[in-house]
């Protein structure tokens, strides 16, 4: 069933994943055609120590310029490639990572976002494994003692509270996605894909244990990325909440690219709507300007167009970003709270647009 180099990779990984007397070695557990392992520790990617996610040796943490919003969760991302493998540089699309690659993304909340360095309670770690038959994903929910995370294939909505940066108590209906819900965002026309790891998202500094470095440069020096230009020659996605990285339109478009375009890209789940929110979309109508909604139902809220230039209050796109009603809120999954800062940015962008709709 397994052929060629894939066999070697998978077998080596299976052997590595066993818990022996030595330190755990990272493993693409679940990369074969079977199911995902029952516990996160089978991957030996990360553990939690003193309320911090700690990567295992050989596992590289990274950040993105403009990440997906997930109810204000703190996120910790890692990547691991099988030894000796690398991904070719791609300038303007997602990176193509080799079979055996494992991404993790851990989601947590401090009790009070106003407290610098407050301990984070980690809720879940999501894993994407590039298996022999494609990418597959699952979420592992951390136990109370933060010692082990257990596969929760069916997903669950968790209710808890935290105090946000402005001192307001927030109570999300936090979604741990089912494996089928993973596909709601990660499946593009039936194929599971990665979303965050793109050159423009990784072209940023990261404070590694041994010093700060550009992520593209670090991935290159570690040999997991090949053919990348120097960072100044690579695209860089603006940081949505850092005005030094771009003007309002470019930061608003960066936010929509990161938070909407995985469905709204013409081939993803929202392809039936005709609304395309890729950062590269140049047609104002496809981007929503004076575009009537197709199957928005009550989410249209009596307004005629996705975006009305100069009128964020009449723009369905802004309304759906603001709402927390399940049938109205966008993105459809993973946001039960309003991302106030992002709504402000997109509102500012729409308010400054010129022109009018019929």
């Amino acid at each position: 069933m397994l052929r060629g180099p894939v066999v070697a990779v998978v077998l080596a990984l299976a052997a590595c994943g066993e818990q022996g007397t030595g330190p755990l070695v990272p493993s693409a557990a679940g990369a074969d055609t079977g199911g995902m392992p029952a516990t996160l520790s089978a991957f030996a990617m990360v553990s939690i120590q003193n309320a911090a996610v700690v990567p295992n040796a050989g596992v590289l943490p990274y950040d993105l310029n403009t990440p997906l919003f997930s109810d204000y969760a703190v996120k910790y991302r890692t990547v691991w490639l099988p030894p000796g493998t690398s991904a070719p540089y791609v300038a303007d699309d997602r990176l193509e990572l080799p079979v055996g690659t494992v991404f993790t993304k851990s989601f947590g909340f401090p009790a009070d976002f106003r407290v610098q360095g407050a301990p984070v309670k980690w809720v879940e770690t999501r894993v994407l494994v590039h298996g022999v038959d494609g990418w597959k994903g699952a979420s592992y929910v951390w136990d109370d003692a933060q010692e082990e995370a257990t596969l929760l294939a069916g997903g669950e909505i968790l209710d808890f509270s935290f105090i946000d940066a402005s001192g307001t108590t927030q109570s999300p209906s936090y979604l741990v996605p089912s494996t089928a819900e993973c596909q709601k965002c990660h499946a593009n026309d039936g194929t599971m894909i990665t979303l965050g790891p793109r050159a423009d998202q990784l072209n940023r500094d990261f404070a590694y244990a041994d010093g700060t470095d550009n992520e593209l440069a670090r991935w290159t020096s570690l040999g997991i990325l090949s053919g990348a230009p120097t960072p100044d020659q690579a695209p860089r996605l603006p940081v949505f909440d850092d005005p030094s990285t771009g003007d309002v339109p470019s930061r608003a478009r960066a936010y929509l690219q990161a938070n909407c375009s995985y469905c709204h890209d013409g081939t993803g789940e929202a392809r039936t709507s005709g609304l395309v929110l890729l950062g590269t979309e140049m047609d104002p109508y496809a981007l929503g300007v004076c575009k009537p909604p197709v199957a928005a139902g009550k989410a249209a809220q009596g307004e005629k167009y996705d975006i009305v230039p100069g009128h964020p209050e009449q723009s369905i796109l802004v309304y759906r970003m603001t709402s927390t009603e399940p049938s109205i809120a966008m993105p459809e999954l993973g946001r039960s709270l309003e991302h106030v800062e992002a709504v402000a940015l997109v509102t500012q962008w729409v308010a400054a647009m010129t022109g009018s709709c019929p």
Partner: protein, 427 residues
Amino acid sequence: MAAVATVLGGACGGSSSACIGSSSPLCTGSGRCVAIASCAKESDIANALASDADGDTVAFAAGTYEFNNQLALGTGNGVTVIGAGADQTTLDFHGQQAGEDGIFAQSVSNLTLQGFTIKDTPGNGVKALGVTGISFLSLGVTWTAQDSTDGAYGLYPVQSSQVLIDGCTISGASDSGVYVGQSQQIVVRHNEVFGNVSGIEIENSFFADVHDNNSHDNTAGILVFDLPGLQQEGGHDVRVFNNTIHQNNTANFAVKSDIVSVVPGGTGFFVMANHDVEVFGNTIDGNKTAGAGIISYALAQQAFTDPSYYEWPKTISLHDNTYSNNGTLPDALSQVGLLLSTGMAEYPDMHVPDVLWDGIVDPALPAGTDPLGLCIHEPGASAVCNMHFDQIDMNNPDAGKTMVCDPAPFACTLPALSPVTWAGLSP
């Protein structure tokens, strides 16, 4: 922090459950059987559906199951989700906090949903995207409120093919009870739809048979639409026959700006844009605005910039339908209904003619008595009228003054469209 800890402790319960077994009288296929009893935990049920393997049957015993998350199906092909009957098994989504649809499936083949009722989803009852072979059999979809807070669509296959909707009962959808969008090879039959804004809507779709349905007490009975700006356009080869389209007089409760919000209450049937549509053998009665209409997207008065979209109906055949008591009191809350109501005094028998064409013609076509190829043979209709909405003076509208009621221009026949079928479709 304490709050988080408490909840997380609860989240890590065992995944095996005595309430999920492996045999059920509802499982008749050769594949694995996942038998769910009403004591099952939501996350275990969700896991059963998310982890479905090819050929699985997921069987819900009689009872009510409450969900606070949508139920998303995994990647299994040939999967059946079955209940003990629409009046026995209820999936209740009134507490749903995540996701727009009750049940969601995408990109699989040969999915069957059968014998249960879906209740009070915040959005659509079932959405199936890009599914090849999807059967909705003997399902119920309903909302308690029956107003604009209800979800948009009851059953919503989109960009799917080999779609069968058979024997379902759907009420309360704030857009359409049955909504088939951008799909191909479609059979919608033996369903009862009522109390929705639109009972059945076939939109931007190819090769559909809609027959033997009972569509009553909606705002509009059956609609065949084509809209601009979508990946599949130019709806065609749609047959609507042997349906009962009765007393669709519910006031329109769609959210304003939704395309169906412009539809007048009291509408029986109409086709907008599309080509090659055949409508016959239906009983259309008691719809107070109008019985049957053939219209252009221009009448919806919505701007569009899609150069590939064709906004006029073409080669439409209406024949041998039965009409009674339609058009007696047009819905004046809608613009079109109001327009129709202006001509009451001039209409034959003082009611809106049973068969209407808006008279709006593609200017690129050569002039003629019937440039769009509309063939209408309706001896049972009170009148067949070109309403000439293209000529009406909107400052002083009187629909009765511009209309020309004469079946002669439409006295042509079109070849009967072929029945829709595919391998494995039961007759």
